[in-house]
């Protein structure tokens, strides 16, 4: 009798096996994600508190170096992407507007979408892919070669020594780069307007400045600041948590780009929702 009950129970459990295993796996993923986010938040809080030490010579030097890497070294790729984003936007909207004889309005269409959304978004993606991945690779290599452990043993807090300068550099540089992206994007749109759609540059600029508001600029800059903090936090956390040698460094770099992209999209939407609806 007992055997019959057991086999019935096993049969019932076999139907539940797959959903139970999937549910368990999902639970584990959620737990690991929450644990990682908690660690990243603690790291961010600690690095933020260390901003008060930024005037020390070594911290100042390291922050300047990071500002240079984030800002100056990214200008090339950002310039190309910004100009072509503006050109594509102008071409696509211009061709549609031309059907209604309204092509002179491409200035406002390009300016508003670049300043509100495309500028911070494209800058965030480029910086996440270039600077964020580089930070994760550098800190990851340091972690697997015991350089982070060496810092800890020397009582040099990695959050102060490594994370804080990168956080400050990205938080400062992202809005500046976004302004640069916005300007080049609008110029790129103007070039297409003048050469392909017969809208003079002066008309294009007048239209752009008439419809774009200060609020658009400030919300865009706020977004870019938040994106900078996200990229620094994700990249530094992934880098510092790296294990398992070269494979681990590769994983940290890939994860940094994926997680940053996801957060940039989600947080970008939330900020737009908060300020425009």
């Amino acid at each position: 009798m007992m055997r019959v009950v057991t086999s019935e129970h096993q049969e019932k459990m076999s139907y539940l096996g797959l959903p139970l295993r999937s549910f368990r796996r999902l639970g584990r993923i959620v737990l690991i994600a929450c644990h990682g986010m908690g660690q990243a938040m603690i790291m961010l809080g600690s690095a933020t508190l260390y901003i008060r030490t930024i005037w020390r010579p070594r911290a100042r030097h390291e922050t300047m170096a990071q500002l240079y890497v984030t800002g100056i070294k990214s200008l090339g790729v950002i310039s190309v992407v910004a100009v072509f984003t503006g050109m594509i936007l102008a071409l696509q909207t211009g061709l549609e507007l031309r059907r209604y004889g309204q092509e002179e309005f491409i200035g406002s269409a390009v300016a508003v979408s670049v300043i509100r959304e495309m500028g911070p978004f494209m800058t965030g993606l480029i910086i996440a892919a270039s600077v964020g991945s580089a930070i994760a690779a550098q800190l990851g290599t340091m972690a697997v070669s015991e350089e982070i452990a060496a810092l800890e043993v020397m009582s040099i807090n990695p959050n102060r020594f490594l994370v804080m300068p990168r956080l400050v550099a990205l938080a400062l540089m992202m809005p500046i780069l976004t302004v640069y992206t916005n300007m080049l994007g609008i110029v790129g749109g103007g070039i297409v307007g003048a050469t392909q759609l017969g809208v003079s540059f002066q008309v294009y600029l007048d239209n752009a400045t008439r419809y774009a508001e200060n609020k658009d600029l400030f919300v865009g800059l706020f977004k870019s600041l938040v994106f900078g903090i996200i990229i620094a936090t994700v990249a530094c956390h992934q880098g510092l948590m790296t294990s398992e040698g070269a494979v681990g460094v590769g994983r940290a770099t890939r994860q940094t780009v994926i997680i940053s992209f996801l957060f940039i999209l989600i947080v970008g939407y939330i900020i737009t929702r908060l300020f425009y609806i």
């Binding site: 070594r58 070669s145 015991e146 350089e147 060496a150 043993v153 020397m154 009582s155 040099i156």
Partner: protein, 256 residues
């Protein structure tokens, strides 16, 4: 000076250290030997709380380092210098800057004083000519010597060496051994050395402990270690062609 009391550490459910207890007296060169994965480096990392035991306590003098945090942990770690297996030099800093880093971070010394101290330590390790070079320009042995200069620049009470001679040629290995001996003889520094190299262990150790499968299988002075009846120890000795009548008996006279 350093005391492990029933320390257990598990990774993924497997006990890498299984309730080990031992003591490192002040001024000794205590060598930990064992096969790869035996738990030697894990033991060393517990001494500076790079790892925290699942069970048991690690003491440094009267302080419990395994339970310390914040400023208290920083103070306790300040008593240590550590030479990591790969030297762990910061790649974007020059040799001089690497060695000067702890002084710049933790002292109020002037740049002149820092320069004098750093060059003095580099001189001790015959690395003064490499002060302006970067770690990537140096050989493995040179990097280890710079790592050692950084480990001693704050004049620590205890130095931990993780595989100080691994990957080095025999001549450089003996040079590093000599440096470890000099530091103990001249400065009275307590040293803990983790190594596979029994020749090195017998040359510099005042006591040798062997770990196998997370447990201590032998803990003795060198001449007693060589005479150990433990099978694992005997196999380990034989694998490195060391016998009771080996040439190391002569070199051990100082330690008996």
């Amino acid at each position: 000076m350093i005391k492990f009391e029933n320390v257990t550490k598990r990774f993924g459910g497997k006990a890498v250290l299984d309730g080990i207890s031992f003591e490192v007296p002040q001024g000794e060169t205590f060598v930990i030997v064992g096969l790869s994965g035996a738990g030697k480096s894990v033991t060393l990392k517990h001494m500076v709380q790079l790892l925290v035991p699942d069970e048991g306590v690690v003491r440094i003098g009267d302080d419990v380092i395994s339970a310390a945090s914040g400023l208290e942990l920083e103070r306790m770690r300040g008593r240590f210098g550590v030479l990591f297996q790969g030297a762990a030099l910061l790649q974007w800093l020059s040799v001089f800057e690497n060695v000067a880093l702890p002084l710049r971070e933790h002292t109020k010394m002037s740049e002149e004083e820092i320069e004098k101290t750093v060059l003095e330590k580099l001189n001790l390790l015959n690395m003064q000519d490499a002060a302006d070079k970067y770690p990537s320009d140096l050989s493995g042995g040179m990097q280890k010597r710079v790592g050692l200069a950084r480990a001693i620049v704050m004049n620590p009470e205890i130095i931990l060496y993780d595989e100080p001679t691994s990957g080095l040629d025999p001549v450089t290995s003996r040079l590093i051994d000599g440096l470890i001996e000099n530091l103990r003889n001249e400065l009275g520094i307590t040293s803990v050395v983790v190594t596979h190299d029994l020749h090195s262990a017998l040359a510099i150790g005042s006591r040798i402990m062997m770990i196998d499968g997370g447990k201590i299988v032998e803990n003795a002075v060198p001449h007693k270690f060589i005479e150990s009846k433990n099978e694992t120890v005997q196999r380990f000795l034989e694998s490195q062609y060391i016998t009771r009548r080996g040439g190391w008996e002569k070199g051990m006279e100082n330690h008996v």
